[in-house]
Amino acid sequence: MQIRKGQRLPLAQLLPENLPDGSFQIQVGMTGLTTEVDFSCFGVDGDQKLADDRYMTFFNQPKTPCGSVSISLMNNRINGFYCTLSSLPASIDRLVITATIDGSETMSRVQSGFLRLVAADRPVAEFAFEGKDFHNEKALILGEFYRKDGAWRFCATGQGFDGGLPALVRHFGGEVADELPTDVAPARLSLEKKVAEAAPQLVDLAKKASISLEKKRLTDVVARVGLVLDASGSMTGQYRRGRVQEVVNRILPLAVHFDDDGELDVWAFSAKPLALPAATLSNYADYIDTVNGGWRKWRMLSYNNEPEVIKEVLAHYKDTAMPVFIIFISDGGVDQNAKIKKLLTEASAQLIFWQFVGIGGRNYGILEKLDTMSGRTVDNCGFFALDDLDSLSEQELYDRLLQELPSWFAEAKSKGIIN
């Protein structure tokens, strides 16, 4: 069946009955362009927004968490998507199939293009289009599968945006940092590759970290990464339940990406600070339970003395020529406000950015006021609190962790702290 631009149909009219588990394939293709076309599938909510980045399916994120949408490849290029609509979460209201190009060409140069539905290996419907349908677009919405009154429908949209992928991302409610880097593939692939070789269990996290790094335009940044772990008595439960090990797992991909030696510098602190051997892709797996005899033997679990560990971290990076990104985990009860404030104010001319993260606690004291603390050369601190590590998706966690880093880099550069 031929589908015309603008046509809207119940999907049941296009697909044969009794499809095995309701899955079908969407095939896409375009000829006439010299640039490579990037095909993606956006799974958006009822407001047409990409509320969950994990539902953007494309080359670097080849399937949705539910597995309902995955890319299909030919010669290592996307030639379509596999779809099982029945297993999509109810929050996904619409699947939007898009094509984007970079460079100076526009979609009016397309000789011929198609979006085809294939069921049980047989083409059942096709929407064909050509360059005459377009003007200056660099991003196209080819077709949309959407829920309506309890059934799925298809619309051959064939409209787009002159502004390419950034315009498309904005259309779906996403933020675009200034301008997307034109070629980020090498950096992000290299992180995935490094992790895939040494610690395949972390590949999924590495991909998510890559996406956040790309969004924040941090793919080319080189920095040391340090992790400071609250090991005061109130943290005991989180250590015992493996939550702190989870933190190490999630932070390590950032260190592998940013750091020249791929090592994550780690400190634990309670009444006193304790410098631990660096976490790496080869020792991370049981890090908390094994390093220095395991967390129970660290002689921690007393009260929390933040100023001492901050001093030790400052001393450790005193002569570094590279910027340093510190992630500081706390479960609250912060009471040495004046000392912390003085240390961080004095340190604001140094090459260190401090991202404080509160997990599962309260009374974060001065940490909550870090963003507005006056008297600093640059805003060198950020803070957010979570009830639980899993209060945020892994993707959101990376987004939050990296939230303030770009503006610190910019400010530190303008003040001559970073060359």
Binding site: R4, K5, G6, Q7, R8, K132, D133, F134, H135, N136, E137, I141, K148, R153, C155, A156, T157, G158, Q159, G160, F161, D162, G163, A167, H171
Partner: protein
């Protein structure tokens, strides 16, 4: 709360709003959210007899002839893009003034220059027609066409018709190819 109709449904205007005399027919659609030429939609009205034909060209109310000679139907003007909330085009109908031999008022919308711009109704989002009592501001009924519109370039949104001495409204949602010209010929306009 206005009664919402689906395609093919009808409602008695006289029963739903016995005070209804001066009626506003509001037509709305979303402005284009993607890049490219705007969707320029035009509303038209055919005042027809029992045989579904106009008495003459003066019974065809559109952007070049905004008011009927009897004064019962008035088109309030053209919105070129669909920008802004609320009704994009409004037609006023004074029911008591409609000549007796006119038994049906057909409200149609066409896409200007659709073929050259390669546009059709399937690309237009949230098209709707609603009837409002101008004196009380009460919305009498509405019909959302969104999923009933497809590859056609002209659509009859709805029709207001006489039935047993009362006025009724039907949600038509019927599309036509060939634009305004085809619709005009069908309703007996000599071109």
């Amino acid at each position: 709360m206005a009664i919402s109709l689906s395609k093919g449904g009808n409602i008695s205007l006289s029963k739903t709003d016995p005070q209804l005399k001066n009626m506003l027919v509001g037509l709305s659609w979303d402005a284009r959210s993607t890049d490219g030429l705007d969707f320029d939609l035009d509303a038209s009205v055919f005042m027809v007899k029992d045989d579904n034909k106009v008495r003459g060209d003066h019974d065809f109310i559109f952007y070049n002839q905004l008011k009927s000679t009897c004064g019962s139907v008035e088109h309030t003007g053209d919105n070129r893009t669909g920008e802004g909330d609320g009704d994009d085009e409004v037609i006023k109908v004074v029911l008591d003034k409609v000549p007796q031999d006119i038994t049906k008022i057909v409200v149609a919308v066409t896409i200007h220059d659709a073929d050259a711009r390669r546009q059709n109704f399937g690309q237009v989002h949230n098209a709707a027609i609603r009837l409002v009592n101008q004196d009380t501001n009460n919305e009498v009924t509405r019909y959302d066409l969104s999923e009933d519109a497809s590859i056609e370039t002209a659509m009859i949104f709805g029709e207001i018709y006489r039935h047993n001495n009362e006025w009724k409204f039907r949600a038509v949602g019927q599309g036509y190819s060939g634009g305004l010209k085809a619709l005009a010929i069908q309703h007996g306009i000599q071109l």
